[in-house]
């Protein structure tokens, strides 16, 4: 028997995803037309002998979250529960806090996924790999390049048996090109014993540093994984499938492209088709059934259109996510952007961002642009993001900008954050 825990974080997290995460928990942000965590659940239900899925985070239980959970339970026919941390307990503290819930029913192992990543990760093979060393632990790893690896958790394995010899979270110097994907399989008894020891140690340190806030927190990358590595009980399973963190809004466009592309295999019915009296579709496009798109509009590649979106005559949309209820008036052009819920774009206006994809000439490159500002203090050109209910008038350009919710713009903007 196996369980899945998805760590969904909380409202003080996901700040690089603002202004979109101001409105909606980031795990519910739609990629390829469906929430991020929906894709995780869909991948997890393929695990044999899966008993339940537990979401752990510190979002206040909200209507959007509970609606999502109940519809996902029905669709995938699996029990899904949300357990709310009363306060952030570090990237692994939530697991320890809810150890009784996780251990209930005595699962051999449980899978842990961080919700802030997307990928085409091979969960089934990963579980099979783990079964060869039940009682110990596994981490899913992928490759990064030398330039970027240090921004992730890096690990070194013994190639003969895949045992992790050394683990460092975001090392200062180069350690390895093998990085942690944020997906693990743990054996509950051994893991919770280790976490208990870590907390004990924190408690003893408290007498030395009485104002330390870390007494109740356990961090996955800094506390748990290095310990497991040095005790010789962590194994790595390497995948070369596409994988990305969803930190910045720019990475959402990259993830959207990969998810849409995966639909060719998994859900070809979700991809829009060309046809008489239908808009012109280029490449992979998802259109929600309730959206209205004029037949003279041109969409794609890499476009997701949310529910009740209205797209006017002669509109052009490329490399963009249109969230529910957005309205695109005639002749407008939207490139490399996320258009928030209920936004309105005027006639002949242009909303354009810059491509934030990983460098295609670098092997194993991941999306850059994790920070909003460059070393020169200027806004780094990135995708354009419009928050909820932003109105763009006709004939203007909004280029490489971030517009916070509920703004009525009256002119063009370039390279600005508009409060």
């Amino acid at each position: 028997m196996i369980k899945v825990v998805i760590l969904i974080g909380g409202p003080m997290k996901g700040t690089r995803f603002r202004p979109l995460s101001l409105e909606l928990p980031k795990p519910l942000f739609p990629i390829g037309g469906f929430p991020v965590v929906y894709h995780h659940i869909e991948a997890c239900v393929k695990i044999p002998e899966l008993k339940e899925i537990i979401l752990i985070g510190f979002y206040q239980s909200s209507e959007s979250l509970s609606k999502f959970i109940s519809s996902a339970q029905q669709e995938f026919n699996i029990p899904i529960r949300y357990l709310q941390e009363f306060q952030p307990l570090g990237t692994a503290g939530g697991l320890y806090h809810f150890r009784d819930q996780i251990s209930m029913g005595d699962p051999d192992s449980f899978v842990v996924l961080n919700a802030d990543m997307m990928g085409d990760y091979p969960l089934r093979e990963f579980v099979e790999f783990h079964m060869q060393h039940i009682g110990e632990h596994s981490v899913l790893a992928t490759e990064a390049n030398k330039r970027q690896a240090h921004k992730f958790g890096c690990l070194v394995e013994d190639p003969s048996n895949h045992k992790v010899l050394h683990y460092v979270e975001k090392p200062e110097a180069f350690l390895s090109e093998v990085i942690n994907c944020g997906i693990y399989i743990f054996s509950p008894t051994a893991l919770f014993k280790l976490m208990h020891d870590i907390l004990q140690e924190n408690y003893h340190k408290m007498s030395e540093e009485p104002f330390s806030t870390s007494v109740e927190t356990v961090r996955m990358g800094e506390d748990v994984l290095p310990n497991l590595a040095s005790s010789g009980t962590l194994y790595s399973f390497k995948t070369r499938s596409y994988w990305t963190l969803l930190k910045s809004a720019g990475s959402a466009i990259y993830a959207n492209r990969n998810v849409l592309s995966s639909y060719h295999k998994t859900h070809p019915d979700l991809l829009a088709q060309n046809g008489v009296n239908k808009p012109h579709i280029i490449g992979d496009v998802y259109i929600h059934p309730s959206a209205t798109v004029h037949a003279s509009a041109v969409l794609g590649p890499n476009v997701s259109v949310g529910s009740n979106v209205n797209i006017g005559a002669g509109a052009r949309v490329r490399e963009t996510i249109l969230l529910d209820g957005a309205e695109l008036k005639d002749h407008c052009c939207i490139l490399y952007s996320i258009i928030g819920w209920n936004c309105s774009i005027g006639v002949w206006s242009r909303v354009e961002g810059s491509r934030c994809d990983p460098n295609p000439n670098e092997e194993f490159a991941k999306p850059d642009g994790e920070s909003l500002f460059g070393n020169d203090g200027k806004l780094t050109p990135s995708i354009t993001v419009l928050g909820r209910n932003v109105t763009i008038p006709g004939e203007v350009i909004v280029l490489n900008s971030i517009v916070l919710p509920h703004k009525d713009l009256s002119q063009s903007y370039k390279n600005e954050i508009i409060l």
Partner: protein
Amino acid sequence: MKALILVGGYGTRLRPLTLSKPKPLVEFCNKPMVMHQIEALVEQAGVKHIILAVSYRAEMLENEMKEQQKRLGITITISHEKEPLGTAGPLALARDHLTVDEEPFFVLNSDVVCAFPFKQMVDFHKSHGREGSIVVTKVEEPSKYGVVVYEPKTGRIDKFVEKPQVYVSNKINAGLYIFSPKILERIDLKPTSIEKEIFPKMASDDNLYAFDLSGFWMDVGQPKDFLTGMVLYLHHLREEEPSLLREGPGIIGNVLVDPTAKIGEKCRIGPNVVIGANAVIQDGACLSRCTILQEAVVRSHSWIHSAIIGWKSVVGQWVRMEGVSVLGEDVIVKDELYVNGGRILPHKSISNSSPEPQIIM
């Protein structure tokens, strides 16, 4: 009567357009710039002989002028300077043409467009009987120009003040003159500035008078002013000859369209647009404050404001162009690009956006 038009050099300020055509032949509001002047000289003042003072060889100009002299039944002479002679030297070079009789002659800066007052200039010049009359026009910011100080009643010019820091006058030299042949005694065959070296002397011996221009005036020698001049000229057409302007659904304000140009459906054209012969504007394009030269194509859903689109250029679908962008001849701008203040040289194909003003070689 005779007229000398100071064409001068290569017209570098109007590049990239002047890389394909000599500046006098670049169409301003669907007519070569120099033809605005030539036709007005012929129609208003009965000018029979026009001398173009040019400091470079331009076969294209010579051939075109041969056609035009036949069409208009006049003589057009190209006076070719071996070295640039400034604004006065060309008069000395053309001395033989200008002194065939005692009649006064016109001298024009070739970059000027306005409601040409040639008839009134002749009357004014004859009324005071001195060596020269220059047209002056009012400007908003006189401190950027050389201004003319003159007696309002008679027009007698007192002095010229270069970029005045304290207000002395808001009238500037408009680049249109009429002179009696006697002026030639003041000019030697060498590079000379008529404004700086000849006019002050004429003013000091009371031989120069100012004629106040009432209508619009613009020096259209560079792209920004070319577009401003276009707006003024179209406004002038609205008042003088509104039948030349296009009306109808999708047309806003003053729009001049050659009859051979094609405009698609659901476009919005204007205000202040000029579309040249055989140009094609496809469905759903939006144009304002721009000139589309002959045989250029603007494809569907593009938005163009403040730009000059060169001959035979193609602007792709969903292109946004603004900020005094100028496309030379036969430029291709691929679909969905953004060009702001770009100067794009002829025969270039653009496949990346240019969001900040730059020259694309």
